[in-house]
Symmetry: C2
């Protein structure tokens, strides 16, 4: 952790530690300044400064002429972090909560991100040092409502590389990819509106749509994209307002939409006034660009969204929306109303500087190779357990796998959680609950032999027999 | 701007500049590698790297055996930033959009933040350098759903200093103060629900509530808080679900709620099942803490929210919610669904390290003194124009002022916008449109004599005569 280990801070930390360990109780007098200074090997004025700051923070009260005392409220209950409950229902939020709040030693083959040492840490550190020299306005101000111009220009250029021409004015930076979709839902949906997603789809689409009180319908996903016969029927019968999908590398299946499917989806969308949100978050993991809805459509019926959480950092929150020019102003107004200002200028600059770093492309090229090897290895190790991949993905870190003999993935996930392993069972991805024997694995988080041991034990146990 | 001025980057910038100035048109061949290397005084391999990266970004296409060409889509329309339209209706979003997107030379006495050189830039730079040495996990990962523990512990201790005891588990970090309120509205409101605000109130409360399709009712604000007779009537007659107010230093009036008002508001809220959101964002500008709804109530009916945008940085987005323990889990779920993960760990660590910096308290003490002098000076200079403050605030940077002879503030604001000065006219703060002759001034943005010249000209012009 990056803390300033000033002497004052050390003194404060020593006192707070005693309060936390209840060696100092509420109402107790703090050690005298002279004595504590000697004990901590600092000057008395450092202790005065530390005590003063503890007073300002409320941990300590000063009684003039008498000394410093621990505040009544300082002894907050022992810090038990709010751990996700093990008995929590396995719903679309289950994987998120379990994996985000997991203890450090937990194994997370079910999570949706790379281990920290697979990420471009050195590039981010360089960008942070660069930011420490940025001008005052960038560090202090809200920034413009659409977000940092150089990053929007970069995104427009990157889209041009796919043949998708757009101006930086058609790009709106957001605080995350999810928030980008949330903003679009606010703009386009009313409670009760129907929204189409894939089955299976990224579980958080369901959680998000529930927050908007949308009616969720789903279309079966094939290795070439949504099942087009069902897609056509759903558009006619259910009249969804929106279709949300991950493109390039589909989440969770890792499949890629074919050019024919892209063309058909767009033709039907145009005929039915369907708006499509294309989540581009895994684009950079592709070996070469696949057919894209936004690139074929030219941002008429398609809205492109994305973020940098998978490739650069999930700690620096920044996402974007690319859309038709006449929708930008309303989206900006909504973002101002609900976030005030746009994406963090500091985060945006950090992303831009990192993407412009000469090491970034090399990092991504190496990462694609590493993931390719990890996919192969993991596939082989899972096959030994009778777990088979549904499709062999062209890139990325997901494998969508079927358990042997119709084993129940949710029960396996509950069992594994007890063993300190977080899995992502199929039905959290399935609005229609159609894939009880599937699991999504993250190959970058599968290097530990304990994972395979837990899977083996779980699969052989009676408790995860087919339901 | 913090950019890595590597040679590669310089070469890329030179090409992109030629494309932007249309000396290189789509389809044009790029200069040969050897020639351009000589011209830029770099090695040929640097130019190769730069061209490759331009290909990856889509600005350039490579034709094997032939060379590099400007992409068809590279010449995006000249970058005209989307400026706020001068003819935009003066509504609650008007001040936000005008001041956030203002050109650099615009004067902004209507905006809601301090100039960059009033903010603790040196402290933030130190924290950024510290973060460049943070561990990989902090820089790469999403972080826990409630947000960085040390910052939540700090906020709990600070609350304890007001006599408000709470555990860090009752604190949820968010990406901004506004997003904190947005999350609470998602949790507690259904479309059509009635929400009570002050009249006048922070204009973005209205914009936010409109996004939630809430029915807004307002209670006149007196120098001691809301008018309690009207408050009681409204609770009986309109049954609002929520009351949202800024405490300590009220926005826009700068007034402070009295202890009696706090007590009465809480008594009525308890009797009517009213939930109160107390926005604490200006707390650190108070000379000494004023009576607080959350501290009197103990977080039963009151939710405390805040952020660091006014005191530390608006570029580092981070806010928080402090609430009763049984509401945290639902708020976390909503935040995961709509943002995925919580507040940026990197931003949270930056805030925490800055607050723990030994210079922070000194900075705030000096800032309070500087603001106190600025309030006095501005009050005197406005008085010369016949503009009088409604109440003399105890702290902060706002003065709520009445124009002479019933002059129309909206018309004055339109006039001033034409002169490059952004004002905040009264009615954008007033749901009942009751204060057409009021203006909110930000004393930290009032040092330029041109502002007073524009005010003088506007007030004497026929166009802003009383309507």
């Amino acid at each position: 952790m990056a803390r300033h280990s000033t002497r004052t801070h050390d003194v404060m930390a020593a006192i707070l530690d005693q309060i936390a360990r209840r060696t100092l109780l509420p109402g107790d007098k703090l050690p005298s300044i002279r004595r504590f200074a000697a004990r901590m090997k600092v000057s008395p004025s450092t202790v005065v400064e530390a005590y003063d700051r503890l007073v300002a923070e409320g941990a300590v009260r000063s009684r003039p002429g008498s000394g410093f005392y621990v505040s009544a409220g300082a002894a907050s209950p022992a810090v038990n972090e709010l751990q996700p409950r093990a008995d929590r229902a396995i719903d679309p939020l289950w994987v998120s909560r379990q994996s985000l709040d997991a203890a450090a030693q937990t194994l997370k083959p079910g999570c949706g991100w790379l281990p920290p040492d697979w990420m471009p840490g050195a590039i981010l550190r360089r960008a942070l040092r660069g930011l420490a020299r940025a001008d005052d306005a960038l560090l202090a101000n809200y920034g413009g409502t659409q977000g940092l111009l150089p990053l929007r220009q970069f995104l427009a250029r990157r889209c041009a590389g796919e043949g998708l021409d757009l101006s930086p004015e058609q790009v709106l930076l957001t605080s995350s990819g999810t928030q980008a979709i949330d903003l679009i839902c606010r703009f386009l949906l009313r409670p009760g509106d129907t929204v189409l997603v894939d089955d299976p789809c990224y579980f958080n689409f369901q959680a998000l749509l529930r927050a908007h009180q949308a009616r969720i319908v789903s279309v079966p996903y094939t290795p070439a994209g949504p099942d087009m016969a069902r897609f056509a029927e759903i558009l006619t019968e259910q009249r969804p307002r929106l279709y949300i999908t991950t493109c390039g590398l589909h989440n969770p299946t890792g499949a890629t939409m074919s050019a024919q499917t892209v063309h058909k989806v767009l033709t039907l969308a145009a005929a039915h006034g369907l708006v499509i949100v294309e989540d581009d978050i895994f684009a950079e993991f592709e070996p070469e660009p696949s057919p894209r809805l936004a690139a074929f459509d030219g941002l008429v019926n398609v809205i492109r969204i994305g973020s940098f959480s998978k490739t650069l950092s999930a700690s620096v929150r920044c996402g974007y929306i690319a859309t038709r020019p006449d929708w930008i102003e309303a989206l900006v107004d909504l973002q101002v109303a609900t976030q005030f200002g746009g994406a963090s200028p500091l985060a945006s600059q950090l992303v831009f500087d990192s993407l412009m770093d000469s090491g970034y492309r090399r990092h991504m090229a190496a990462l694609r190779g590493r993931l390719s090897r990890a996919r192969r290895d993991t596939q082989a190790r899972l096959a030994e357990l009778g777990i088979r991949t549904w499709v062999t993905p062209r890139g990325g870190f997901y494998l969508w796998c079927q358990l042997p003999d119709g084993r129940d993935a949710a029960r396996l996930a509950q069992f594994a959680l007890g063993e300190g392993v977080i899995l992502a069972p199929g039905n959290v991805f399935s609005p229609a609950q159609q894939v009880p024997d599937f699991i999504r694995f993250n190959v970058a988080q599968m290097d530990d032999a304990r994972i395979y041991a837990v899977l083996r034990a779980g699969l052989s146990a009676r408790l995860v027999a087919a339901s």
